[in-house]
């Protein structure tokens, strides 16, 4: 029964979603055509589409996309390595956890972008600074969730491995990591979103390449339609990350069931 009803519901959601989006674009386009809004300042879908084509043809936007993706990968990769490592250390050792905790929460709750000029002085304008900002913004979610994952490990399993002569590394590899995976993935999901934020923030304030920089560049030249090209690409990347997260979580649910 429920298996049958799911399909039409999803189709309805899909169709209505497309209708809603089309109506939105149509209203926007019509308002611009009839000068209800200023088409030069506000722009409209057809202008944006034209800007998309010309930016793709010049190849400019692809170069920016590449820069952003490399910075994103480097920053988030660093977050994973440091975040999972530190998270396991904190999860296993109470002293480490209590000592590091205040700093983690400071990083989480303060507007880190304010420090960008200081980071530029250390790491130079551009790539390294953007990677650092991306890392700083995203690694806390990985740390916090890894700690929670390690705390959730069944102590019986740890004792079992120890009883059969397993060492510290065996405990981490065979028990702690597998048991903590669901929460680590949940942390990665939040971290991915924050990393994308970090790339954009970093590029807006301390870079001369990438999608975030391109947005500020076009906005400063009042080329509104052009602003939307990198903006739409960023929205699509955000959606793709979200879809990926959904898919992984669905797999995980199936694997645990």
């Amino acid at each position: 029964m429920s298996g049958i009803s799911i399909v039409p519901a999803r189709r309805e959601q899909f169709v209505l979603g497309i209708i809603g989006t089309l109506v939105f674009l149509l209203v926007w386009e019509t308002a611009a055509r009839f000068d209800l809004i200023n088409p030069v300042v506000v722009s409209n879908p057809t202008r944006i589409a034209a800007a998309f084509v010309s930016q793709l043809q010049s190849g400019e936007i692809l170069a920016d996309l590449k820069v952003s993706l490399i910075e994103f990968t480097a920053g988030f990769g660093l977050s994973l390595v440091v975040g999972i490592g530190l998270g396991i250390a904190m999860g296993l050792n109470r002293l480490t956890e209590y000592a590091v905790d205040p700093f983690v929460w400071f990083l989480y709750s303060s507007p880190l972008i304010a420090f960008y000029p200081l980071i530029i002085v250390w790491l130079g304008f551009g790539f390294a600074t953007v990677v650092a900002i991306t890392f700083l913004l995203s690694f806390v979610s990985v740390v916090v969730n890894t700690v929670a994952g390690v705390h959730g490990v069944d102590p019986q399993l740890v004792r079992a491995v120890r009883a059969f002569g397993g060492g510290r590394l065996d405990v981490i590899r065979k028990v702690i990591l597998p048991a903590a995976v669901p929460l680590i993935i949940a942390g990665m999901r939040i971290g991915l979103g924050r990393a994308l934020h970090g790339v954009v923030l970093g590029e807006m304030f301390s870079s001369n390449a990438g999608l975030g920089y391109r947005i500020t560049f076009y906005a400063a030249h009042l080329r509104t339609a052009d602003v939307f090209v990198p903006l739409v690409i960023l929205v699509v990347i955000g959606l793709m990350i979200n879809q990926l997260g959904n898919a992984v979580e669905a797999r995980l649910q199936a694997w645990r069931a």
Binding site: G152, P155, R159, F205, L211, V227, L239
Partner: protein, 271 residues
């Protein structure tokens, strides 16, 4: 080393014992922070690292006093606070209204779903330049950014809150002859409140970052404007003061919201 170091005398790893060590957590955390501040003071004041880049705690404290006394901090904080309120209050009102409408009509929800998901998953900061082009460099564009950043988590959490209200509560109300408005007032709203408040608290963090980034991008007054001014002149002490002010504002607002929630809806604050 770490595993061995914390195996208690009884043997085995007792993760559960963590909860019993609240005071240990506070003591160790505080010690670490104090040690960090002492180290920072030595490195900064001793010019081991250029102090204009990293400053040091006593300089930050002095700077805080000076900026407060001169009225520089208060005046700009007031501007930022006004922008925040102008964006956040409408975000709560419209967010709850829209979330309720979407929860009551699945069709309506599906129509707006792509827009909601897109706004929720994209880096909202990327909209700052376009919002400034549309609404100017003044306070209006900042209020719009606060609204955009805050409204989505409130919509989503209101929606989930209402759809997850226990069916049995509603049936119980009906059984005792409650009207439709009574069902909404007595069962649905109280049931959804905890989830709505989670959305509001989530919105605080996002709105603060959106506001500061927008002010840093371009503005006339406000805390973000000050950050940008001192940033370009590499004044680390002032930046630390301003960051601390912004972080404290977010923390205090979330704490206040929790208090209010606990007072008007004590059932909602589960540990």
């Amino acid at each position: 080393m770490s595993v061995v170091a914390q195996v208690p005398a009884g043997g085995g790893l007792t993760w559960q014992s963590l909860g019993r060590h609240r005071s240990a957590r506070a003591v160790v955390g505080l010690t670490a922070v104090v040690l960090f501040l002492i180290g920072w003071q030595i490195v900064g004041a001793g010019e081991i690292i250029r102090s204009d880049l990293i400053s040091y705690p006593s300089e930050v404290a002095e700077t805080l006093m000076r900026m407060t006394a001169s009225g520089e901090l208060g005046g700009n904080a007031l501007v930022s606070l006004q922008e925040f309120i102008q964006g956040f209050v409408p975000a709560i009102a419209i967010g709850i209204a829209a979330g309720t409408a979407f929860a009551l009509s699945t069709r309506l929800h599906y129509l707006f779903d792509p827009l909601i998901v897109a706004l929720n998953t994209s880096p909202i900061i990327a909209f700052v330049p376009i919002v400034v082009v549309w609404f100017g460099v003044g306070t209006q564009s900042k209020a719009i950014m606060v609204f955009l950043a805050a409204v989505i988590p409130i919509v989503i959490n209101t929606m989930t809150g209402i759809t997850q209200v226990h069916e049995s509560w509603i049936r119980a109300c009906r059984a005792f002859g409650a009207s439709k408005s009574q069902v909404i007032l007595k069962a649905i709203l109280p049931g959804a409140l905890p989830s709505v408040m989670v959305g509001v608290r989530l919105a605080v963090g996002r709105a603060v970052v959106g506001l500061i980034a927008a002010e840093m991008y371009v503005s006339v007054r406000g805390i973000g404007r000050l950050i940008q001014v001192y940033s370009t002149s590499e004044r680390a002490a002032e930046i630390f003061v301003l960051v601390a002010v912004v972080a404290s504002f977010g923390f205090l607002l979330v704490t206040l919201l929790r208090r209010i929630e606990g007072a008007i809806a004590p059932w909602s604050l589960e540990p």
